[in-house]
Amino acid sequence: MAGRTGFHRVVIGLDGSPHSRRAAAFVARLTPPRGGLVTCVQVVEPVRVPSMPLVPGRMRARIAAQADTIHQGQIALARRQVEAAATKLEPSGWRARGVVRTGRPLAELLAAVRAARADVLVLGARGAGAMTHFLLGSIAEAALKHAAVPVLIVK
């Protein structure tokens, strides 16, 4: 279905949620155009420790090290998830790759769309965040407002 629509380069935003997996599964069912490329993107937010300046000096280094360990773990998990999604896309004929970015989710997702020169951004309707909005995740909602490319919301 993507062939004549000009959707040759697709970016899928993943976050480990069931909706984002469904978004990837939907793309896997599409017939890819010649040379169709899917980039599976997952953004990992840096672990922020509040009130760090108030923590005694000798504790600060230990807490920072623990935060870094957690962050590295999140990156490793995200990498496994994007690789798994990319692997599932290849049998249907798409060229697929996984990308993990670090930073603010929306900004990084839009940066990934620009970097991949994508024609369409595919997102699950609801995200993995604790503060999920009613029926639509905050990232999906913000992406609709700010993305310069069509956004496909998968429910």
Partner: protein
């Protein structure tokens, strides 16, 4: 998840033009039926919409099964109701891609559709128009003639064109009517 029914709701604005082309392309590729829907605000004359709707359906429908529908009511809710009734698999909706206050007013239909739709939604920003068909950049201050309407982007000499002004007023009136319960007057605070 096969796409058999594609719905393209249009308000005939520039923003929905890009969505129309993508809806057509997707319906062609999937061999799906393309539904073209226009929702007229309750106080407006629907006959104007019918004519434009036929024209849009004709321009998009070559080589496709096309159904047109004209509904009267609040756009967001009517689109969702239509999608449920006709078992629509994909809604392709144009967005104005604005932010802030103007977005709160203008993007509300697309937002309601994305939030409440029972199916896939493809939101197409107006900026996706091909370069030769994209609206001309805003002229420098002082050059009033040909200034595009802030809402639909069509050329005109007013900040907001007559059609958009009427639509915004009608939507505001409709919302006010719904907000005020019978027998209660004044602010619904």
């Amino acid at each position: 998840m096969r796409v058999n029914q594609v719905l393209f709701p249009t308000d005939f604005s520039t923003a929905s033009e890009a969505a129309g082309r993508i809806a057509r392309a997707m319906a062609l590729q999937a061999g799906a039926c393309l539904h073209v829907l226009h929702v007229v605000p309750p106080v407006n004359d629907p006959s104007v919409g019918a004519e434009k709707l036929t024209r849009v359906a004709k321009s998009l429908g070559e080589g496709l099964r096309v159904e047109t529908a004209l509904m009267s009511g609040r756009a967001g809710r009517s689109i969702i109701d239509y999608a449920r009734d006709k078992h629509i698999d994909l809604i392709v909706v144009g967005t104005h891609g604005r932010t802030g206050i103007s977005h709160a007013i203008l993007g509300s239909v697309a937002e309601a559709v994305v939030r409440l739709a029972p199916c896939l939604v493809l939101a197409v920003p107006a900026a996706v128009l091909e370069p030769d068909r994209a609206p001309a950049p805003e002229p420098a201050a002082g050059a009033q003639p040909g200034r595009p309407c802030l809402v639909c982007g069509r050329a005109g000499d007013e900040l907001i064109c007559e059609g958009c002004r009427t639509r915004i007023r009608a939507e505001a009136l409709e919302q006010k009517r719904e907000a005020e319960r019978p027998g209660r007057r004044g602010s619904p605070v």
